[in-house]
Symmetry: C2
Subunit: 174 residues, 2 copies
C-alpha cells in the first residue's frame, strides 16, 4: 500500500497523478463499502496534523472505527468543539483521545515574530492566535481540560497521550 | 496491524488498554524515527473526520509525507487557515488536496433543529455554525475557492476530490 518515494522535480501534477494511481489500487481491494457513519469504537481522536503521525495505525484503528480530528498542535479550537459536538451528539461517540507529540512545531513557537513576517509577506494584518505552548505534556492536559470544561461536550472519558516521533510509542499522560 | 473487533461491553477502559497494546506492537516495528517535521511530499490534505476515511492509505501516503487536517465536513474554517499558514509558511508545503466524501453527515444537516435540541440539552445558547452543505461536489469546489481566496495562504495548486465511501474510489472534481 505504501507509495514509492516522491519525485518533486516534475512538479505538482505528478503528485496528483500519483494519488489517483495509488487510489485506484486501494479501491481495487476495497472491502469497507457497507460501513455506516457512526464510528464502531464510539471513539473520537484529536491529534496534530504533523506528517510523522500516522495516527490510525499508531493507535491500531481500522477503517470505520473512530472520528479523526487533526489541526496544527492538536489543540481544542472552536472548530474542534464544532466537530466534537457533531461526533458526540449526532454520531454517538462516547470517548475522546487527545494525542500530542514530541518535536511539535507549535512548541515554543515564536508567535509575535511569525505574525510580523506574515503581515509583511501578505500585506494584510495577520491577527492569528497560533496556539503555541511551552510543554507538550502540559499542553495535552490543557486540551483535555478544555474538552471536559466546554458546556457543549458530553460528560465522557477523555484520555491524553504524547506520541514519541522518535520511537512510535505513546506515553500515558492522563 | 489491524486490531480485533472492539468489545464495547466492558466500557471505555477496555479501549484505552487496547490502544496501548496495539501501540506497543506498532512501536516494536517502528522505523520512522529519523523523519524531520517538513512533509516529504510538501503536501497538505484537508478531509472530513468521518471514520470511514482512512485518508493516508486511500491516497497512498506514508508516514512523514503530508500534513493531515481533518474536521467535520472537511471545511475551511478559521482553524484550518491557521493550520495551513503553519503548514505552508513554516513547514514548506506547496500543494493542497481537499477531500469531501459521499454519505457525509454535514450534507443537508438540519442546523436549526440541531441547535434547538443542543440548546435544550446543554442549557446554554448553542450558537454554532455547523457549516452544512447541499451538494458534496459543490462543497469541495467551495472549500478550494476559500483556500485560494484567503490572503494568508500561498499561491499553490489546490486539488479537490470526492471520496466514495461505497467503493474507496476518489472522484476528480478539480
Amino acid at each position: 500500500m505504501m507509495a514509492a518515494m516522491p519525485d518533486h522535480s516534475s512538479g505538482p501534477t505528478s503528485e496528483y497523478a500519483r494519488i489517483l494511481a495509488d487510489n485506484a489500487r486501494y479501491a481495487d481491494e476495497f472491502e469497507h463499502g457497507a460501513l455506516r457513519p457512526p464510528p464502531t469504537r464510539k471513539l473520537a481522536v484529536l491529534a496534530c496534523m504533523d506528517a510523522r503521525l500516522t495516527i490510525e495505525v499508531a493507535l491500531g484503528l481500522g477503517t470505520g472505527e473512530a472520528h479523526i480530528l487533526r489541526n496544527a498542535g492538536g489543540v481544542v479550537t472552536e472548530d474542534v468543539i464544532r466537530s466534537l459536538v457533531v461526533s458526540q451528539h449526532l454520531l454517538g461517540t462516547e470517548e475522546v483521545v487527545v494525542v500530542g507529540h514530541t518535536g511539535c512545531g507549535m512548541r515554543r513557537f515564536p508567535e509575535d515574530e511569525v505574525r510580523r513576517q506574515l503581515t509583511a509577506a501578505t500585506g494584510t494584518d495577520v491577527h492569528l492566535d497560533f496556539e503555541p505552548f511551552e510543554d507538550v505534556e502540559e499542553n495535552v492536559r490543557e486540551q483535555v481540560r478544555r474538552i471536559h470544561a466546554h458546556p457543549w461536550t458530553r460528560d465522557v472519558p477523555v484520555h491524553g497521550f504524547v506520541y514519541e516521533v522518535e520511537t512510535g510509542r505513546l506515553r500515558e499522560i492522563l
